[in-house]
Symmetry: C2
Subunit: 470 residues, 2 copies
Amino acid sequence: MAPAQPFDKLLEIVGEANFHQDEGALTRFLEEPRGLYKKGAQCAVTPTSVKMVQKVMQFAYQNEIAVVPQSGNTGLVGGQVPATGKEIILSLSKLRQVREVDTSTNVMTLEAGITVLEAQKHAEEADRLFPLSLGSEGSCQIGGILSTNAGGTAVLAYGNSRDLCMGVEAVLADGRLYKGLSKLRKDNTGYDLKDLLVGAEGTLGIITAASMKMFPRPRAFETALLNIASPQVGVEVFEIVRKRAGNRLTSFELLPTIGMDLQLKHELITRDPRAKDAPTNWHILLELSLFEGDEDGALLGVLEELAEKELVADASLCNSLGDRQLMWLMRENYAECQNREAQSIKHDISVAIRDIPTLMDEVDAAAERIVPGIRPIAFGHMGDGNIHYDFLAPEGFEGDFKAFAPEIHKATYEILAKLNGSISAEHGIGQMKADLLAQKKDPTALDMMKSIKLALDPKNILNPGKILRS
Amino acid sequence: MAPAQPFDKLLEIVGEANFHQDEGALTRFLEEPRGLYKKGAQCAVTPTSVKMVQKVMQFAYQNEIAVVPQSGNTGLVGGQVPATGKEIILSLSKLRQVREVDTSTNVMTLEAGITVLEAQKHAEEADRLFPLSLGSEGSCQIGGILSTNAGGTAVLAYGNSRDLCMGVEAVLADGRLYKGLSKLRKDNTGYDLKDLLVGAEGTLGIITAASMKMFPRPRAFETALLNIASPQVGVEVFEIVRKRAGNRLTSFELLPTIGMDLQLKHELITRDPRAKDAPTNWHILLELSLFEGDEDGALLGVLEELAEKELVADASLCNSLGDRQLMWLMRENYAECQNREAQSIKHDISVAIRDIPTLMDEVDAAAERIVPGIRPIAFGHMGDGNIHYDFLAPEGFEGDFKAFAPEIHKATYEILAKLNGSISAEHGIGQMKADLLAQKKDPTALDMMKSIKLALDPKNILNPGKILRS
């Protein structure tokens, strides 16, 4: 099909193989994980070089056409799909070069279309660790994880995507190339443009490549699932473990027992991972990374102290790599088990870790008042204060559970505001939370953001309608 | 003395005790460590509350008067003193509140006028570590170290000031307050304004308070001074130590033997700290931090491996806290021993660690061509690629050594550019390097910085002439 004007020029820039306009070809760019956003797009392009990305943006700038940057299309807040349908989608998925793996400086330079799993493998081949790990790691790509500052399960020890990134290369609204790749651990030469582009969800520039940190590979992991009485006990356990294990504590995940019940019910796991001597409603999935020079059995020492202090009723230790894989699979299934069970209402929020128990008491109570019998399934990265605070419809619930979403969101975000929490801990704002951000963010901060957006994207063509409402 | 118009209003805002206009009272705000900048100022004010800072900025904004924010006045590039003499100095040194020390979240909320040493002590009282450590820690203050993104000797394990900061509160050009204090480890709600304000040297906003990270206190340190043959061996040693010690490696400083010779000569130290069996021209000051659960003697294991591999000729171990203090004092004396010896020409630069040997070969050779007999004294944070690359006048040199500075700078920065290094690793740009930045920085990055500056400070009243030339 011949593209409609003014896209002849765009077709010429990217070539036919990289120009996608008919409905079938567009589907993979438009369908996103939760199926919440259904706008179309004028077309999608898949440039194969940074130069080509620049030309696409020059074209878009001249013609004032809005552009939605996209890489793995795994975002959960509609940041990577159109807001109006008049946009063109600029997919970075064909920027696939590994430009360098430097084991001396421990930095890899990767283009935006490399998946996180591939990045992990490149590091592993160089006997290094790329610590970013999250559910969608097989599909999500460097461009996207940086644009959303993705988190994952090892933030506690290694930080989020922002912390793992030393510099970016990005195409600006008018097609100019910001050359910010860097292997410098220290560089105080002006404003921190890297951190401005990271987490900006493609609204200030399009990240085409990044310098990503690597770390020494742990020689072993020690992993256990602890039975604990309550989230409050979880906070106490965290403090003790962090003190004893320092930076070797790489994961500290809070898991309510309901998630494992559901996984068994829906056959997502076939073996119950929980220790059975003293069943509890709550669990901590705890992992230590051991390096050369660390003695085996560090975790055992920690568990003995926790048992002595009567904080942990029982625990299930992983004794093999297989055990560990199953444990982490179980952790990742916390989203899927909800899909299989019932309708759900979700939040991705964070507070200071000591405020987690208060948050949970108050949010659970508020939700119960709104929908008696509602089933909270609040889980996730307790060690960094980030809870995926989801609710399942009550057992046997009939009707449109999602109709309660506005009321439950409102109650949750009000409690969160009292605790100075974040309305988006790791998924970003996208389309989903742009209105919410406008209500909840410090108005001065919002004004600063708007000024910066206007300064760097005066025609508002970079992912409009995301983060900031125009 | 009655202040001249239009300062009546300013005097009224801050009160007489906080208004400083006569020459004597101004001295302490105007004299900076290296005595390079000699402009005056209209006056200095020392507001005692954030509200008062806001009112000062409202006044400055209305009257279009330029403001130089200052805290400890220890900066080395003229960022904290006036560029024209028409500015008013706004000292944050009376914002002295410790707003909170939260040991559960490991965050302290400190006002801008708290010194780094005080911050260390507050953390220590709470059985925590505030790891920032640098020569001027007794005087430099939170506002300044964040505005310059100061580094120091523990960047390797803990990062620079930016990494230690979770959020800031800042007064903007028009007096509005940006409320960005945060104890959230994860918060993806829009642009990263914290990191934009940190390192902006007071040109985008005035930091009045910050949320600073604390860490578990190490239970012990293991410190040694290694004799090595060359910087290249230093790189090899670094890779081995990092692999073996992981995050426990907190300092890795390169020290040429000349610095210790000079310290003995000028009686800055009374005991030679170097191991004598196999003298070398180069040394590494290495420190491991041990936490609960770490075995003593980790360093010995490392040293054995280094000896086996014939990388380290001999080493001097610190066997007491006193030994360690003396060793670090010796490290800190690397600036002072130059002052006592001769005129010097200095650079604060960084490259990827593997490029340090090339950098040093080429820069030394270039400097020798310019001034035969010139004495390089290149030292510092090798582990993060940051070398304080200084040169002393040749022995017996007479005349104006500093006259060679432009030529030596030019040669150094040209070599640095080839290696993609940074012209300012940790001291910032200030006035000293603003022209250099304009020449060396990626022009697109410079344009982005100018756009952001214009967006957030349209009247150019926040520390004008620093970082960006107007």
